[in-house]
Amino acid sequence: MAAAPATLNIAQTEYKHRSLWMDVWLQFRKHKGALIGMTILALFVLGVLVGPLVYTVNPQFLDPVSQNQGPSAVHPLGTDNLGRDMLAQMLAGGRISLAVGVTAMLISISLGAIIGILAGYFPRLDNPLMRLTDMFLALPILPLLLVIILLFRDTLRALFGPETGIFLLIVFVIGITSWMQTARVVRGEVLTVKNQEFVTAAISIGTRKSKIISRHIFPNVLSPVMVAAALGVAAAIITESALSFLGLGFPSDFPTWGRLLFDGKDYIQLTPTRVIWPGVAISLTVLSVNFIGDGLRDALDPRLRGR
């Protein structure tokens, strides 16, 4: 009974052709938190990309005359104990923090997607790869990260220079210790997708395995990968700041938001703003990314879409 007016409705309204991603976007737009999150994140990205071009103060310029200052016209966010301008440091640090988040996420979801697809598509690889995943899940991640960074920091710095070396190390260790959830979810999706008719049809016309995976399997497991990507950025930023907060991340002359927080905590009585700026920046970024992740999850879920 309820179906009859609905069909009428469809017949009456003219529907323009909409792609899948248009549908996703329309649903995503309904999630207010996700939209606000996207705006804030866009502002942050724009700020750290364009900011240093507009605000051309050198973040490493030492000014012994103006140490530990609060916000003023000359130094909008104040200065640190060596007289370095906080706004310039925040902008420079944001670039690295966001770059670490995005790069580590790319490593993590690529690994997760590849391992998940291989385990899901090739039954022979399934068991060994999933045992590997289980083993990685049982590793105590934070202690291991700390240890690896401490032990290999100097070697990599010598190899790639102080800045690139520590960046590569941190991005790499975060990436290879956070792919497991993605791999599990992707494997599950592949297992359901690969038994569907269109895959059988593709096999029956002689499509090569590599093409089946790239043209038929991968596009269908893209949704969980995208959600994992959004949440992965947030997790990577948090992990990096935690490492920097423990003094084992980026060095002071090449600070991220986490490092600025760590350096500021000893001056908490004198200039509490030194803790507040980077803390707020980290929290807002992570919150925005998590909201975007929530919105994406709702938008990509076909059961929720169109309601």
Partner: protein, 337 residues
């Protein structure tokens, strides 16, 4: 069920051996010299003797096997002896895993630090669950109400804002400005009377609150979605249609079913308490296990780092099994045999 537990424990053994090997190898193969921090005036042959005395003379596989033996056989025997107050075998001769920094047995160092960690972080975990479950239940029952909207937002904030920022914020507000609570945790403080008990409570309030907020945020999101999954089930309608009071429907029928995944998640989260300790203890200077690990890492005290990391791994594997077994006990639909 017993067969299932035994099987899981047997599977856990190779997993843990592989993990112990990974931990041992990462620390051992790293370019690092334990005598590197000693003065340069020490002649090379003495330096070599120091290396020998630290057990570094032998090849890698032998050192690994010795470490495994010390860790998995000798130390548990010592603990058994301590608990039952007897002597098993030749306990004085038994090799122990010793810290390079203090030369004391690693296990003693860890046991010394355990109570602080358990008190602060364990309390925060229990309080977090005690807050999260009611909040999650009300949020789900009144979905899209004001309470739900605020609760969901607050929990997403609590989940996104890292504890090292909330912790420092609390210190700025409550220690620096209001001067209500001390900014660090004094472990030497002994509780003897009501006044000293109050001092103890005061120094615990901030770390416990920060962690409780973080734990509750994660758990309430999970409880809410577990409740929502159950609220639309057929059995709920049946319960209502046979005339049960709403309170009974929600608090007995729905809640009990929703708590199954929540309890499992709680069990899975227990090893995470110790991981979280690393950061929280650093903020509030609680000298628990997390701080011990940081000191050990900074001082390149390899045996101590290996032991703590491996204990964390054992906890993760064990509580994974506990969670799965709990799931089977609580949910009669799950049959493992």
């Amino acid at each position: 069920m017993v067969r299932y537990i035994v099987r899981r424990l047997l599977v856990a053994i190779p997993t843990l051996l592989v993990i112990s090997f990974v931990i041992f190898a990462i620390l051992d193969l790293a370019p690092n010299d334990p005598t590197g921090n000693l003065p340069l005036t020490i002649p090379p042959e003495v330096r070599e003797q120091i290396r020998q005395s630290l057990g570094l003379g032998q090849p890698f596989p032998i050192r690994y096997l010795k470490w495994i033996q010390q860790f998995l056989v000798n130390e548990p025997l010592n603990i058994l002896e301590y608990v039952f107050n007897t002597e098993i075998g030749n306990s004085a001769e038994r090799l122990r895993v010793r810290s390079w920094a203090t030369r004391g047995p690693v296990i003693d160092l860890i046991l010394e630090r355990l109570p602080q960690t358990l008190w602060v972080l364990g309390l925060a975990y229990i309080l977090g669950a005690a807050i999260a479950i009611p909040v999650g239940v009300i949020s789900a029952y009144k979905q899209y109400s004001l309470f739900d909207q605020v609760g969901t937002f607050v929990s997403l904030v609590g989940y996104s804002v890292p504890t090292f920022f909330t912790g420092l914020l609390f210190i700025i507000i409550f220690s620096v400005h209001l001067n209500w609570f001390p900014s660090f945790y004094d472990t030497t403080h002994k509780v003897t009377d009501l006044a000293s008990l109050w001092v103890q409570i005061k120094q615990m309030i901030m770390p416990v609150t920060v962690l409780t907020f973080f734990n509750a945020a994660q758990l309430s999101r999970f409880t809410r979605s577990a409740m929502l999954d159950n609220l639309n089930q057929d059995y709920v309608r049946t319960a209502r249609s046979k005339g049960l009071v709403e309170r009974v429907v929600v608090l007995v029928h729905v809640l009990r079913n929703s708590l199954i995944p929540v309890v499992t998640l709680l069990a899975l989260g227990i090893p995470g308490i110790f991981g979280g300790a690393i950061i929280t203890e650093q903020i509030f200077r609680v000298n628990g296990i997390g701080q011990l690990l940081i000191i050990a890492i900074q001082g390149a005290d390899i045996p101590l780092v290996q032991s703590i990391t491996f204990i964390f791994a054992v906890l993760i594997v064990m509580f994974n099994i506990v969670a799965d077994v709990l799931y089977g006990v609580l949910d009669p639909r799950i049959r493992y045999d």
